[in-house]
Amino acid sequence: MTDKLPVNPLLQGLASRAMPEPCSVVIFGATGDLTHRKLVPALYNLAADGDLPPGLCLVGFARRDKTDEVFRTELEEAARKFSRQTINDDLWKNFASAIYYHRSEFGEVEGYHRLRERLNQLDKDRGTRGNRLFYLSAGPDQFENILTNLKSSGLADTPAGSWARVIVEKPFGTDLTTARHLNNTVHKCFEEACTFRIDHFLGKETAQNIMVLRFANSLFEHLWNERYIDHVQITASEQLGIENRAGYYEGAGALRDMVQNHLLQLLCLIAMEPPTDLSADSIRDEKVKVLRSLRRIGRHDVVRSVVRGQYGDGSINGKPVVGYREEKNVKPESVTETYVALRLIIDNWRWADVPFYIRVGKRLPKGGTEIGIHFKNAPGVLFNRDQTGVRDGSQNVLVIRIQPDEGVSLRMQSKVPGASLRIQPVKMDFRYGTSFGKASPEAYERLLLDAMAGDATLFARRDEVEEAWRFIDDIEEGWHSEENESGLFFYPAGSWGPAEADQLIEKDGRAWRRL
């Protein structure tokens, strides 16, 4: 039993953010890819930067049989490969001394009781203060098992002065029904305030900068509405195919894999109203309002507003690649979309009649995620096309590059030096890489720190997830209705997607940005 501990006055003024508290981090599915590629490298980097509390320990919970030592060795190999910093041998040794392995089946209740005893002992040995952070990195089909056993073994309950939190990786369900079921299951064990749903896009420096750009500068907010903005484009393109993820991707597709979470989150950050304060719930309240204001795309609108595509064979970076249906473990007759383009409308005062065009796709020519805010044309009264070279569509565009080459640029018109009045677009550019020399932490580093500190701002709330699913479900239902069943368009790998996606935006008199 831990009495409530006094506030540590020595921590005050040390950092401008909430400090992470000593805790045990238990990763369910610890032998998986995520732990090796992202989580442990992130924790190591935090340790190397002095951001991890000394009392932290990491317990990997998985089915395979191995010792602490073997587990540590495997994680060291992964950290050396994936860490953004070079591994220091002494520091790794120190960090690894706090890593343990706990073998158990996810459904084995006794395994959780043993885990509880182990964590209690770690509290005494390492001063983790009874705090527990459970990371569900296992397959979604295991979540219910894990959560139920956490509850029944008492691990989800903590004495006064301690906390237990759960981090849930996406996908948060596959539709509204399953998402609600998952949320209900989580809530039987953990309160919403202790539930952290990861969307790693929110941990990216540039995604966090969207709010700063909008609300720390007086310049933009007056223009950030339907009077001045013509349309918004959000693009997430990948050169990669599905790699080894066919098992998951066949059941998901681009809409569920990327739009439901990452792209709608970016849309919310762009479209939201200023929050009343910077608390997690105030910000998330505003994001939910955006999702609720999205005009639903039902079966009668889906053909007009959504294009689904699937890549065929082609070439990427000059090398031939196979089409989706030829990828390993993909059904030859698969109708899973690897590309989707949508035209969305937000029905509120700020965004009335401003279309948001979103596209996401695999096996496109370039990889990158960006947001383009296209402003309305200036009145063609003073400078017109014939005399000065101003073309229709040469709008001012504010581009927020989420990855790679993170930064912000503004395209505007300028006179070309010379005797005649010729006008050409030029770009004002701010790049993270050349302005802030120090590398940003990886998204997972920030997110793990925030979870340990109890700050949920960068995590999705229950209602955000469910509203997003409600929106996506309508589209899925529309796709699979009888009248729309044939709506899958093919595109060669290495092209910018199906011609029908170009038509989606061109019929409005606009064009996709050239990345």
């Binding site: 831990t2 501990l5 006094p6 540590n8 006055p9 020595l10 921590l11 005050q12 003024g13 040390l14 401008s16 508290e21 000593p22 190397a48 930067d49 002095g50 509390p53 000394p54 009392g55 220091n88 002494d90 520091l91 120190n94 509290d123 005494k124 040995d125 390492r126 001063g127 203060r129 890489g433 050349t434 302005s435 802030f436 020399g437 120090k438």
Partner: protein, 350 residues
Amino acid sequence: MTELQDLVRGMPVEVAQINRSLKALWEQEGNVLTRASLINFAVYSEAPDALSANTQLMEQVTREHACRIILLAANPAASKQRVRAWISAHCHLIGATARQVCSEQIAFLLDGSSPDLLRNILFTHLDSDLPLYLWWQGEFSNQIDQQLWSWVDRFFFDSHSWREPAQQIKILRGSVASAGSRCVLCDLNWRRLIYLRLAVAQLFDHPWAAQQIDAIRDLDITYHPEYWTTAVLFVSWVARQLGWELDEKRDFEYRFKSGKADAPVAVRLTALPGPWIGDVKFGFDQGNLEVKWSGNFLETKLQGESQLKQMLPAGGTTLASLVQEELARGGEHLTYLGALKIAEELWSGE
């Protein structure tokens, strides 16, 4: 050899032609170089060979912080006023691209320096719309007039380098106050302590140690003989955060009254060659908490009802790394200002 490579050594220019020369430089090299600047970082020194030493230091600093550097090497005792100037740039490759990112540097040698001259040189050569950080190296001689103070956003100094720190702080405070300046005081001596403070603070997060925080019996610190001011700043931080009041001050021993404990806390400082602060040990009735410098790390130990050993990063030890750390932090350093009040009391009379 391109003109820019000459510039890295410093190209002499007429003071009145500095901006034009810089513009010509970027026009010439703009295809392969990117000029970057987030702040004006002015460095003032009266030490001989300051320009050379500070140029090397800034080469390190600009790896992480793009700025326009203005180096001011002053010789106030010179009989005749004269100003000479050089321009150069610090360029670094960023990421995997072939493009170099460059911070430009203007170096001045000021013979017969005065507040008027200093103000004029700075005002003329600041990159517009950017904040001004001014680093005063060495003793503070109150050469900054009111108008210049009003432009300084952050004032860097190192109280470790002062012979009489209490007196210097008094002069500095007076100068800032009379100018009505709201600049933030950035003491590199305080920055030296950041990793040590983090380590100590985090150790006291351990449940057993947290229970002992109001029952500290003594505090023993070993420090390098030249870093007495640093050790005193550390003691001042602890005292301020824990609400201790100075009861008695002897040579290198202090007694503090803690409102929450019966017995006073004995603080002992011992000079020993080694790191600026080699060892910090908090003694309790039934154990102790120790942080010891070990190579590039801080070895932390908790011994008592619970035992814990940890290694934590110690941060960089060079002046460049301190400056980089300080530049990476914002805020008004309120914790420092609070600790400073106690430090002034401990510094005075020693």
